[in-house]
Every structure is written in structure tokens, then in C-alpha cells.
């Protein structure tokens, strides 16, 4: 392994360790200890929280902001694909020639599109007063790193980037992730569980179909 690969692996290990520690802590803390008499199903509330409540039809943040919503979906898919490709690129770099070029180019093109979505979100943050008002350096850094990993992954797949740049970008993202807002990839799930618990217990979720 080259020095830059070792650096990226150490960063990934650090990232996974810190996020796992947070995960374990959150599981240990558990759900709120409610003493009130329930009026609905917690289980059904939590299921709905991850399903119907996530539907674009159910959220103004989606149906009133479709370009941003769709951009966000594409951006998140690109992020997960990039993160999933990291171990493959690291461990199977010498076998990448066996993968059909077509597949590599399509994946690279898709990542290029998702990184453009990320860049678009960044531009929106810069030009929108409402967002600039409560944005911090972390919001920009997290966005830049998450967009950058998609760009360098795309380039790496088509052998168009120096591996030093790819692994350095990955290392920076991994180091930043447990501290910056990218850690919402963990907290998102707990937020949905807590919400489903709250609304499910009170009988608000799942909602009754309106006439």
C-alpha cells in the first residue's frame, strides 16, 4: 500500500470508529421514557415515519421545492455510491481493467451528474439569504468534500486522476464526517425513529386517509 492509501484507510477507520461510538451511545440512550397512556401504535408510527412520511407528497420540503428535492436525492445517491466504491477501488484497483469500460463510464457519468447536484446545492447556499444567515464554515466544507469525493471517484473510475488526489480527498472526508454535518447520515435514522415514536404513540401516524 502507498502512503496515501494508508492515510485514507486510517481516516476511514477513525471515521467508522467514531460513528460507531455515536451509534452505540444513541442506542444505549434509547427512546424517551414515556409515562403517558399511549393512544396509538409506536411500531406503526415508526414504520410510517420511514415510508409514507418520507413520500414527496407528504412534505412541503419536497413538493414545494422539487428541483432542490430531486437534486438532493441524486446527490445522496452519488454520495453513497462513492462511499461504497471506496473499498473496491482500494482493494481491487489492479482488477479494475476487467470491468467493462461501458460500466465504468456510465458510473462516472452518473457521479458527475450527482456532483453537479452537490455543486448546485452549494451555489444555492451561497446565493440564498435565508441559508447564508445560519450557515457555518462546516456547511460549506461538508458540501465541498462530499461533492469532491464524487468528482474524484468518477475520475478514478476512468483513470483520469492522480490516486494521491483521490485518496487525499477520501481521507479528508472521512476525518471530517464524524465532526461535521455529514454525520447526519447517522442522526437522520434516529430522528425518524424518534418522530415515529412521538406521532405513533399519540395516534397521529399513520394518518387516517382524508376524504
Amino acid at each position: 500500500m502507498e502512503w496515501y492509501q494508508i492515510m485514507a484507510v486510517i481516516s476511514a477507520f477513525l471515521c467508522i470508529t467514531l460513528l460507531t461510538a455515536k451509534l452505540v451511545n444513541l442506542i444505549k440512550l434509547g427512546l424517551p421514557k414515556e409515562l403517558s397512556q399511549p393512544n396509538g401504535s409506536v411500531k406503526e408510527g415508526i414504520i410510517y415515519s420511514f415510508t409514507g412520511a418520507m413520500s414527496p407528497k407528504a412534505k412541503e420540503s419536497a413538493y414545494m421545492h422539487l428541483p432542490t428535492y430531486l437534486g438532493g436525492i441524486v446527490y445522496h445517491i452519488g454520495t453513497f455510491v462513492s462511499l461504497l466504491l471506496f473499498p473496491f477501488i482500494l482493494l481491487l484497483a489492479d482488477k479494475i481493467e476487467r470491468v467493462p469500460d461501458m460500466f465504468l463510464y456510465i458510473t462516472a457519468a452518473a457521479l458527475t451528474i450527482s456532483s453537479m447536484a452537490g455543486a448546485g446545492i452549494m451555489v444555492k447556499r451561497i446565493v440564498t439569504d435565508n441559508l447564508r444567515y445560519f450557515s457555518s464554515a462546516d456547511d460549506y466544507i461538508s458540501n465541498i468534500l462530499t461533492t469532491a469525493i464524487q468528482v474524484v471517484t468518477a475520475l478514478m473510475l476512468i483513470d483520469a486522476v492522480d490516486p494521491v488526489l483521490y485518496y487525499t480527498t477520501a481521507a479528508l472526508l472521512f476525518v471530517w464526517m464524524p465532526f461535521g454535518k455529514t454525520k447526519h447520515l447517522l442522526y437522520f435514522f434516529f430522528a425518524r425513529v424518534n418522530l415515529g415514536y412521538f406521532y405513533g404513540r399519540r395516534g397521529t401516524w399513520p394518518p387516517i386517509k382524508k376524504n
Partner: protein
């Protein structure tokens, strides 16, 4: 603004408590996408960035990061980790007390699911720990603590009002057994009121009394501890909220009531039913239920008979946030109203998506924010006007108050009624 040294130990302890995963989750989950802006009536009314719900939550979570995270301690500038100082506390008072009704509309529409009112409530707890609750709101809490009801109505005055309403009921029913029982023991229903009822809307008491009479209910009201409201839910002082919740808890035991029936008050129902056991740190050993559900059960069980044609005007429903979005009563309210009126026109949006009337979160008690309260209420006023309804029904006396003011300010020309009132008007009673 002069930055003074303030005692931050107690408020910071509130952000350090690891009771469950909710605090840590909500302090870390927001991605600051800003898409919650249009879900908040304060933002819609003022179009200023400070009113974006995420920005209000950020006030609290920025302090959380400063004192509870490694990143915030080491590089506060990078992570917007802010110190809690006088300037910050004053900003929190203005935004968390004066610009949020904790209606929770932003939560449902948040792309992540961050519980912003939970964060706002945490911020209010911090401010309460610093004795920075707006004086107007605190005086409402103090009245409840000192007298047993938030309007400080003397017991004698309350008894007189109830006796007066009872006489009216006897005359209307032509039955000396039509009663509003006070302080009676071993009754099935221990009923509670919003103090606005005896003070300003006594006819709503006679309306529910008429419903109980028709259903042949065994019920009573305490002459001392009848107040369903709990402004301790709003001022963020959990000890005071517990003391107020304790009044009803102890009184139902004293009178050996079977079922605590919560009068028409959104936050009071929430604070008693859902938050009360938490404040008192014990499960209630009696059933706690809203009057809407009780009336619905009367209709389902055939205990009361209603004639929709007696309410023929076009009506619409204003969904109290704490009863519908935060209380799960969407279908029960519709069932009762549809059983009582012949022409229901929903607002848009409605149900879980409803807009707050603007009077929630303690806003009605905080006169310093009256201008804001009336301005954000324009959204509700437009909804009402567009519905074309002549009557607005809402099972919440705080909402009634705000809607009355909106009715006057925006010249809506509608009648505001509670559920008990609309049901009482539709009652078919075979007089003995």
C-alpha cells in the same frame, strides 16, 4: 448591545442531560437546508431569515455544540459553536418565546424530521433556568401556581358562575335534576375547564353541561382545581409545570374521580395527557381523555342524539396543533363535527397540515408580541375567508381567543364555536 456576564451553569446542564437519544439526535440532525421556511407562519408573514425554523433551532444547537462537542470546543468558528451570553440569551427570548408557537408544522415537513419544537422547548427551559421568561407569560404561570387557575379567578366567583350556569341549564331543560355538580365524589367524569370559560365564555360551560345531561353522565367539576391549562409547558420551567399538573392529579384523587376529562384546550390537553406524567415522573392511575373523545363515544354508543339540520350554516374546522398534529385527534374531531352539522367545508390545508391560529406557544399571554401574533394570524384568516364558512369550530379556548381577535381584525364576519357548543346546538333532548 452590552454583553453581560450571566450564570450559564444551570442552562448548560439542560443541554448535557443524556436522558434519551432525542436531545443528541435533534441537536445534530439538522442539515440547514432551509426548506422548513415555508412551513412556518412566522417566516411566511415576515420573510426574514431569522424566522426560518432551522435558524431558530440553530440558536440552541449552536450552544450545544460549543459546550458538548469536541469540534465545537476546539474550532467553534468552523462549526458555528456559540457561547451562551447575555446577547445570545436575549436573541433566544425574542425568537424562541416571541417567534415560535411550537406548533410543530415544520417538523412534519422537515426533510430530515428534526423535532424543532422540542429544541425550542429546550431553549425555553434554558431561559427559564436563567429567569428570562417574558414577565407576561411568567405572571400567567404564577397565577396558576398561586391560585390554582391561570386567570386567578377567586373560588367564590367561580362557584357563583357555575351556579348561575346551572340555573340557566335547569330552566332550559325544565328539569331540576339538570345540574353542574361541584366537588362531588366518586363520579365517573372529573371534568376540567379552561379558565377563560368561567371568565369570558360561561355559555361553553352550560353547553358541555347540556351534553353531559343528555348523556346522563355522572360527572363533577372541582371548585378549586379545574384548570386544564398548564403554561408551565410554555415557560419551560418543568418544576412549575409539575406543580400545576399535580393540582389536577391530586384533586381527582381527592374527589375519587374515575376519569380525567380534559376540557377544550389544546395545550392543556397535551400538557396534562402527554407531558403531565413526565412532569410528575409517574404514570397516572386514572384514565386521561379529551372531551372530544368523550363526546364521540356518546355519539357512537347512542347516548346522545344529534340533529344535523339544527346546524345548517356552513362550518369549517380549525385544528388545534396540540390536539391534531401533536395529539392524534384528527378523525375524532371530524366524527363529532360531521355528526353535528350539515355543511362542513375544510380549510386548505387542514388536519395534520393545519396552520396554527397564531395564539399557541403561550403567545396569547405575551402581550409584547401581540403585533407579531396578529400578523401571523393573517394566514389563518385567509384560510377561513377562503373556506366560505360562517362558523369556525375549534376545540380549544386559546384558539377561540385568537380566532375572535382575527375575526375582528380581518373582518371575517364568522362565528367562533367550540365542539361542545356546536354539539349542544344539535342535541335532541326529550324533556321529561
Amino acid at each position: 448591545m452590552v454583553t453581560q456576564k450571566i450564570d450559564i451553569k444551570k442552562p448548560l446542564e439542560i443541554l448535557s442531560r443524556g436522558d434519551d437519544s432525542k436531545l443528541e439526535t435533534n441537536m445534530n440532525a439538522c442539515v440547514k437546508c432551509g426548506l422548513c421556511a415555508e412551513s412556518c407562519m412566522y417566516y411566511l408573514a415576515f420573510k426574514e431569515a431569522q424566522y426560518v425554523p432551522g435558524a431558530k433551532a440553530e440558536l440552541v444547537s449552536s450552544i450545544y455544540r460549543r459546550y458538548n462537542t469536541l469540534a465545537g470546543k476546539v474550532a467553534p468558528a468552523l462549526f458555528n459553536a456559540k457561547e451562551l451570553n447575555q446577547e445570545m440569551a436575549e436573541k433566544m427570548v425574542d425568537m424562541l418565546f416571541g417567534a415560535c408557537t411550537m406548533c410543530g408544522r415544520c417538523v412534519k415537513h422537515c426533510s430530515i424530521g428534526v423535532d424543532i419544537p422540542y429544541i425550542v422547548r429546550k431553549g425555553r427551559e434554558m431561559l427559564a433556568a436563567m429567569n428570562m421568561v417574558p414577565a407576561t407569560l411568567q405572571s400567567t404561570v404564577d397565577a396558576a401556581l398561586n391560585t390554582g387557575n391561570n386567570m386567578a379567578i377567586p373560588q367564590e366567583e367561580f362557584i357563583d358562575t357555575i351556579k348561575w350556569m346551572e340555573e340557566e341549564l335547569i330552566d332550559e331543560m325544565e328539569d331540576v335534576n339538570a345540574r353542574i355538580p361541584l366537588d362531588e365524589t366518586d363520579k365517573s367524569v372529573f371534568y376540567t375547564l379552561n379558565p377563560r370559560e368561567p371568565k369570558f365564555f360561561p355559555l361553553s360551560i352550560s353547553a358541555i353541561a347540556k351534553v353531559f345531561y343528555a348523556a346522563k353522565e355522572s360527572w363533577t367539576i372541582s371548585s378549586k382545581y379545574y384548570d386544564v391549562t398548564n403554561y408551565g409547558f410554555f415557560n419551560g420551567n418543568n418544576d412549575q409545570a409539575a406543580q400545576i399538573a399535580g393540582y389536577l392529579h391530586d384533586e381527582i384523587h381527592k374527589l375519587r374521580g374515575k376519569k380525567l376529562v380534559l376540557g377544550e384546550c389544546g395545550h392543556g390537553s397535551r400538557a396534562t395527557r402527554w407531558e403531565g406524567p413526565g412532569y410528575l415522573k409517574k404514570k397516572f392511575d386514572f384514565e386521561t381523555i379529551t372531551v372530544v373523545e368523550v363526546i364521540a363515544s356518546y355519539i357512537r354508543e347512542g347516548k346522545i342524539t344529534l340533529d344535523k339540520s339544527l346546524n345548517s350554516s356552513k362550518v369549517t374546522i380549525h385544528d388545534p396543533c396540540n390536539l391534531v398534529r401533536n395529539g392524534g385527534l384528527y378523525s375524532e374531531i371530524r366524527f363529532v363535527v360531521k355528526s353535528s352539522v350539515s355543511d362542513l367545508q375544510e380549510m386548505n390545508p387542514y388536519g395534520e397540515d393545519n396552520f396554527c391560529c397564531g395564539g399557541g406557544g403561550g403567545a396569547l399571554a405575551m402581550s409584547e408580541y401581540n403585533e407579531r401574533r396578529i400578523k401571523i394570524g393573517a394566514i389563518k384568516a385567509q384560510q377561513i375567508a377562503k373556506s366560505g364558512a360562517k362558523v369556525v369550530i375549534t376545540p380549544c379556548h386559546n384558539c377561540v381567543d385568537q380566532l375572535q381577535q382575527l375575526n375582528h381584525t380581518y373582518k371575517l364576519g364568522v362565528k367562533i364555536m367550540t365542539i361542545a357548543e356546536i354539539v349542544a346546538d344539535a342535541l335532541v333532548i326529550n324533556k321529561q
